[in-house]
């Protein structure tokens, strides 16, 4: 079992191994939903929520069902199955009991089913040999890192909207240039806590 402390794990997920900017997972929503600050925050909170739920369920299933049966190699298939069902279940429960949250999350909730960041964090937790608590903290860090990246990039993009950009670079090209610059800034965190 990995013996890294909880705080370095949290910071690691948040900054050093930032999911979007260092590991390049979850780029889809990063480019797609970062146009407005409001929707970026909404999407990120939904991702954090689903990530936590997914980790809470996949880790025990992997450790107590798949490993004893010698089926560790099936983790990707099993995790996709679990995450997809989980998102459905969350959607049903929210629609019934927390209608305002359901309305606020809107289309983002089903979209998250196919978000590779969610699958990525559950698999990385296993690969790094984290315990249950460590996995949950790492997931929180990863989700927080996703939120951080989304909010920062939404701020950059709101400025880009009004900037005087040459015709050929307008739209996606300038967005990709900005994304690469933002991710370069996160290289500065490499090596922190020896992660």
């Amino acid at each position: 079992m990995n013996s890294t402390g909880l705080f370095p794990i949290l910071i690691g997920g948040l900054l050093v191994n930032n999911f979007v900017l260092s590991q390049f997972l979850g780029i889809c929503p990063f480019l797609g939903v970062s146009k407005k600050l409001n929707s970026a925050v909404g999407m990120s909170l939904a991702v954090i929520f689903v990530m936590m739920m997914a980790t809470a369920v996949t880790w025990p299933i992997y450790t107590f069902i798949l490993v004893p049966a010698g089926l560790g190699y099936l983790q990707t298939v099993a995790f996709i199955l679990i995450i997809a069902s989980l998102v459905q279940l969350v959607e049903i429960v929210l629609k019934r009991y927390v209608k305002p949250l359901y309305n606020a999350l809107g289309i983002y909730l089903p979209l998250i089913t196919t978000n590779c960041a969610v699958l990525g964090v559950t698999i990385l937790n296993i690969d790094k040999g984290y315990g249950y608590l460590q996995s949950l903290v790492n997931t929180l860090g990863a989700g927080g890192g996703f939120l951080l990246a989304m909010v920062m990039f939404a701020g950059v993009r709101e400025r880009l909207e009004t900037a005087d950009i040459p015709e050929g670079l307008k739209g996606l090209p300038s967005t990709l240039v900005a994304a690469s610059l933002v991710s370069i800034t996160f290289v500065g965190f490499q090596g922190l806590f020896g992660l």
Binding site: I65, L71, V93
Partner: protein
Amino acid sequence: MFEVILAIIILTALGLVFGLILAFASAVMAVPVDEKVEALRSALPGANCGACGYSGCDGYAEAMARGEAQPGLCTPGGQDVAEITASILGVESAGVQEKKAQVKCGGCDQYINTKLEYRGIATCAAANQFYGGEPSCSYGCLGYGDCAAACEYGAITVENGLAIINKDLCVGCTKCVSVCPKSIIEMVPGSAKGIVRCSSHDKGAVVRKACSVGCIGCMKCTKVCEYDAIHVSNFLAKIDPEKCVGCGACADSCPTGCINIFGYQPKKQKAAV
């Protein structure tokens, strides 16, 4: 061979368990859908523009089914939608209640003070990102005419750094409302008799320093109104269009002259500042 069968069994079992949980959950926690809501929803245009004041067509359909909203608030749908929705609800159609955009700021160049000189890109969106733009008042019209550019009906002009909306040309599409970075354009019913031309929630003293025609929240208007139609909340007066009869008493009493009753000239001129 045993491993292969075990893998198949375990994955099938996982799938089955989750499938059963989902089936059980959707059966137990199903939200009953009101047939009326469905019918109303399909009658609405589905543009989700928000002109009715609810969160999209779904929200409006639900509010109508609950009896909280009147049919006819849907401006884009027009007369047809108003009649169809009214017939679904089983009530008499009162026609479409028109809504017109109004700028809630009266601070043209001669009244409002500036805190900086802005020479960047001449759009409100860009100016707003630079420390909130030129006006000292953070709720003040920037006057670069983003709203005028968004208006497809030529209803908005910018005069002396203040956007002015021509009521007769406005069709109530709400494009200007969403484009204004200061959020100072509001939709008011076409039958409204007047409006407070200020959006500032700052305290009176702060407003006075920034602008000579801002609402300072003194509540004089609330006291003189005989119809309980004007109220001050959070240092800003607001007219209730359903109660206002347009008598003009509030406009007469306002020390800064920020209340605009359409077609009414206040008796007492604006006090010297």
